[in-house]
């Protein structure tokens, strides 16, 4: 696909050449946060994105638990495939909602217990392998599993159980221990998913704080702080995709790539998960009606963000198959290059263009804990 390379190059030029010629001056007219619009946007974010997202997560976790239970009770190729399919569905549900890395996700290490990644020194892998080789029965009990390392109880561990070395033993009773460990992980994930949902559904809990910014609010004293948090989900979400999900296995056209550092490489869910992250961000942007925060003369900012959102989602979803094969395929490498550039572009659209237009400006990403 030579045209794709040309497109990537053109985008590279536009991305990197523009700042060099941009003149200082022509500052935007002063922007202020549309305080009146914020509470409705926050309420929609909770009701139409966060709660449904966690509800979906509980459903997919329950389904993974049921499918794994069936596999353990009666091992077979179809049962294994059903359990693997349920795992991929669970990864899909998590990828959409993991962008909300705040509030209940930060408490009791819930985020890391659900997904421990990256595992650069293979700490988690070694623990999972040790549990499997020693047949550590305590890992098959949900309550005791919860007390183990965060790396041994989440999606990464479950992926290894279902796809890693020795997963073929799951086709017979030989894999009984392995299966029961996997089952305990699915129960643990189901429990955490329900904790997320319960925390967000509690009427006087975090959702009340999100819906009613004010002086007595434990999260946001005013609408500006609330808008900052919401924009933070978008910006940090794209940063995470760029720096923590793409970069570990692919750094650009000269990089041969490191497929085994890619998230979910064993199950082939790498790109589906990345597409799921960005689809989650776009869904949040849309269903919370975040464009209503834009002043009338800047509504086009939402249009350009939408365009890049779709481009990133489309391209990520378009890179199919195992990630090691994608990295060895010239056409797919060109798509990865295009995806990287588009992700950088999306970050600028949201952080600078959108953030600036809704009145948060440079201050948004500046004042975040230093």
């Amino acid at each position: 696909m030579p045209h794709l390379r040309k497109l990537a190059l053109a985008l590279a030029l536009s991305t990197f050449a523009l700042p060099a010629v941009a003149q200082e001056g022509s500052a935007l007219s002063p922007r202020v946060v549309n305080e009146a619009a914020v509470p409705t946007v926050m309420a929609k974010a909770v009701e139409a994105f966060i709660i449904p997202g966690y509800r979906n997560l509980t459903e997919k976790a329950a389904a993974a638990n049921a499918a794994t239970a069936k596999l353990c009770a009666a091992p077979s190729q179809p049962a294994l495939e059903t359990a693997q399919g349920a795992f991929s569905d669970l990864v899909g549900a998590w990828s959409a909602i993991e962008i909300v890395r705040l509030g209940p996700a930060l408490e009791q290490n819930r985020f890391e217990r659900f997904l421990f990644y990256p595992d650069r020194k293979s700490t988690g892998l070694k623990q999972v392998q040790a549990i499997l080789s020693k047949k550590d029965e305590s890992a098959t009990d949900e309550a005791r599993l919860k007390g183990k390392s965060v790396a041994a109880q989440g999606l990464g561990a479950l992926e290894y159980v279902l796809y890693g070395t020795g997963a073929e033993t799951l086709l017979s009773k030989e894999g009984d221990f392995r299966c029961r460990y996997g089952l305990a992980i699915t129960k643990n994930l189901d429990t955490i998913a329900n904790e997320f949902l319960a925390a967000w559904q509690k009427p006087d809990g975090v959702q009340a704080a999100w819906k009613h910014p004010g002086p007595d609010n434990p999260e946001f004293r005013d609408s500006r702080e609330a808008a900052t948090e919401l924009l933070g989900i978008l910006v940090h979400g794209v940063e995470t995709v760029k720096d923590q999900r793409l970069k570990p296995f692919y750094e650009g056209t000269d990089d041969k790539g490191r497929p085994k550092l890619a998230i979910y490489w064993r199950s082939g869910n790498t790109m589906a998960s990345i597409a799921g992250n960005v689809r989650g961000l776009k869904t949040l942007f849309d269903v919370a009606d975040m464009q209503s925060l834009l002043p009338e003369d800047s509504r086009s900012v939402a249009g350009s963000a939408d365009f890049v959102f779709k481009s990133v989602i489309g391209m990520a979803g378009n890179i199919d198959g195992p990630i090691d094969q994608a990295l060895a395929d010239e056409n797919k490498r060109a798509k990865l290059a295009f995806l990287s550039l588009n992700t950088n572009d999306l970050l600028d659209r949201l952080n600078k263009d959108f953030g600036g237009a809704i009145g948060l400006g440079a201050g948004f990403s500046f004042a975040d804990g230093d």
């Binding site: 941009a22 001056g25 890391e112 600028d348 440079a362 500046f366 804990g369 230093d370």
Partner: protein, 363 residues
């Protein structure tokens, strides 16, 4: 081994920084930073999204600027060697040392293997050593990296900060100890700037002997203030150490945000009026002391405010609304305050000033 590692680091650093930036270090640019009327320096982001460090006059007008490869944060200055340093923002991997009198070219250092900078540091009293707060991220230990100013700032050693997530650090008045603000927040470069331990933070303030690296004193915070991140420090008129905090707990709490201590004494928190605490939005971004006038200056970008306190009584002398308030440094009278939207004292420039200002004190 160490030298070889540093060389590799520096090479890969220069590769990362890019040719355009390296070219900007040509002597005519770098030396132009030096002007007798340079009083302040601060890092900034330009409108095109590029980063740099600028020198400014007492009035806050930009004298000149030097490009930086990535965003910088805190700065320090040695009046003896007349060198200033700009540290990359966490989890950054470079620091650039500038000669404010233009006698020598800027020096760039790269973080050692397994370490990153936190964005702050200071020079030894004689200006020969540079200390940087760093993260030993494999073990989550705060470290002080030591760099030799007489030998191209080669990294010659390190010692612990005796806490996690160190941020700002300053030399005590007698030049003997480092006063270190361990913010208590665990981060790891694999996870970017994500705060990993908000439900079990360990903030502390430590005094460490520069000669031996030994811990002289450590102050943890009481349990009810475990979410109060101790982040910035400066030295008061009587040598006392002033510190300022950022609160990670509930937004409607009213925690103490500022305090002071001296060697051998407990921490003393200032009891600010409730409306001042509210105005600071539980977040002090920068603190500076005007030692001549006995004043403490605070800024809060979250509260859009700059506050001046009496260092002796703790009384609030002035509370000024400054949109996107960024840095603060002692001025001839009172304080110079900058903002993310380009204000610096009464001057306006088309840059976003970063969180800190250093005074290039010629005394």
């Amino acid at each position: 081994m160490r030298a070889a590692t540093d060389l590799i680091d520096r090479r890969s650093f220069l590769k990362m920084a890019g040719a355009a930036w390296v070219a900007s270090l040509a002597p005519d640019r770098a030396f132009a930073l030096a002007r007798a009327d340079a009083v302040f320096a601060s890092a900034f982001m330009a409108q095109d999204g590029s980063y740099g460090v600028a020198t400014l006059t007492e009035a806050g007008e930009i004298i000149d600027r030097t490009a930086l490869p990535a965003r910088a944060h805190g700065m320090a200055y040695s009046p003896v060697t007349r060198r200033a340093v700009a540290f990359a923002r966490r989890p950054g991997t470079y620091a650039m040392i500038l000669a404010t009198d233009g006698r020598v070219e800027p020096v760039v250092i790269a973080a050692a293997e397994g370490r990153h900078f936190y964005g702050h540091g200071c020079f030894s009293a004689d200006g020969k050593l540079l200390y940087a707060t760093e993260n030993d991220f494999a073990t989550n230990r705060g470290m002080v990296g030591i760099y030799d100013g007489t030998n191209k700032f080669a990294r010659i050693g390190e010692f612990p900060t005796y806490g996690i997530g160190p941020h700002d650090m300053t030399l005590t008045a007698d030049g003997r100890l480092l006063a270190i603000a361990n913010g208590g927040i665990e981060t790891h470069p694999d996870f970017g700037r994500t705060k990993l331990n908000l439900d079990h933070m360990e903030p502390s303030l430590t005094l460490v002997d520069t000669a031996t690296g030994a811990l002289v004193q450590k102050h943890g915070l009481p349990d009810d203030l475990s979410r109060l991140s101790t982040r910035h420090v400066d030295i008061g008129p009587k040598g006392e150490i002033w510190f300022a905090c950022q609160y990670e707990g509930a937004r409607n709490d009213l925690p103490p945000l500022v305090g002071s201590f001296t060697e051998g004494e407990d921490l003393k928190f200032l009891s600010l009026p409730e409306d001042t605490t509210e105005a600071l939005a539980n977040y002090v971004g920068a603190i500076a002391v005007n030692r001549n006038e006995g004043l403490i200056g605070l800024t809060s970008p979250k509260g859009n405010v700059a506050v001046t306190l009496d260092a002796r009584t703790g009384a609030v002398l002035k509370e000024e609304r400054v949109a996107d308030a960024a840095g603060v440094a002692a001025a001839d009278h009172g304080f110079a305050v900058s903002s993310y939207d380009g204000r610096f004292k009464n001057s306006q420039s088309r840059v976003a000033w970063d969180q800190h200002i250093v005074r290039l004190d010629r005394r």
